[in-house]
Symmetry: C2
Subunit: 221 residues, 2 copies
């Protein structure tokens, strides 16, 4: 088990039993998700921007346009906090206080650096595309030179990171279990619908089986 | 139409045609969502924490525990950026470059202030609970005194805010439309499953129709 060393920033302080530092578990969450919230600071002010991402090994790749405000003056990397959150359910208790969510989240701290080498950048964009739609990169036109120039890619090492997970039924105070209130979990999940053809699609081209059965859920092997 | 005045922070700079400043549209997004990402700064370091929220009029209420690291020394309010993101679909173009997401997001900047008045705090907690599950507050045990003391609630005015929205099919370069690649949108939505009884549920208590038909989608009136 590859366990990340918790730092003062990644140690889960509130409800510490929900903290997870195992890299495999962290990667599973990162691989199921595909939208992160990137936090950065400009003149002391926090910004939080949603953006897509991809993971390759111990690196998370994000589109730099999200933090383009920051990149003007920073060549050596941008201090960021990247958070990925998967919501699995609403936890309904018998008291307002014990209502909660079932969720899995990952928080990564570190410096996101601009990927400048062209080969590495192309590989990062492939990772990014295929993280969201497996094998899509191999089907579509690759970026040309002006598109490559117009795209910023940032790499963030997944080293200072932690996950937080809540699962299971509500936990009520002993004396509340007798209350005549329904309690339990409403499961939530992100579901894909039937692919919608581009109105300009060339007649006769069908979405692949993989696109028609698109899901973010990992294979239950 | 109640239009918010864009500031330097809320003006959508990248793809400005996606920027929306209409309060009704912003509220619709905030009301469909229920998880926000709160960004704040400690010693120059950005933090991004996912947490639940509720909206009442021109205020967003969030659980203060999310930013409890910050609240120790700050009585006058915490400078935050709160972002709510709804993902509506994957946009598959014929070129890697033009892949995108359909989404609706809101970004709010401002000072989140601790709600200290007990009556206001109880009302905020009611808003918070009922935002996530309509009328739940009226069915469950209200917070008692120790629970109230153990709960921090922050209020953030929804005044410096903007939304960003992308809808519709991919937009490809003219010369790419002839490529033999499927293009279109894979719709995504957060779906609720069948409520799962708490294993300790008193036999005979059923979830209400509202819980069995739980959805975040607004009524199509």
């Amino acid at each position: 088990m590859d366990t990340l060393h918790p730092t003062s920033r990644t140690t889960v302080k509130r409800l510490p039993k929900r903290g997870v530092y195992d890299r495999e578990e962290i990667n599973r969450i990162l691989d199921e998700g595909f939208i992160c919230h990137v936090g950065f600071v400009v003149d002391g002010q926090p910004f939080v921007i949603p953006t897509g991402y991809g993971r390759d090994g111990h690196f998370l790749y994000i589109h730099g346009s999200a933090v383009s405000r920051m990149l003007r003056n920073l060549k050596e990397g941008v201090e960021v906090c990247v958070t990925v959150t998967l919501v699995d359910g609403l936890v309904l208790a018998r008291s307002a206080f014990h209502h909660s969510f079932n969720y899995r989240s990952v928080v990564i701290f570190g410096k996101a650096a601009l990927v400048e080498d062209e080969t590495e950048k192309m590989a990062a964009l492939r990772t990014f595309t295929n993280h969201i739609i497996p094998n899509r990169w191999e089907e579509v036109r690759e970026p040309n030179e002006p598109e490559m120039k117009g795209t910023l890619v940032l790499a963030l090492p997944i080293s200072e990171a932690s996950a937080k997970i809540r699962v299971g039924p509500p936990v009520d105070d002993d004396e509340d279990y007798a209350l005549p209130v329904w309690a339990g979990v409403i499961p939530l999940s992100l579901e894909a619908g039937t692919p919608i053809d581009d109105p300009k699609l060339t007649p006769g081209i069908e979405p692949s089986l993989a696109l028609r059965n698109y899901t973010r859920k990992p294979n239950q092997a």
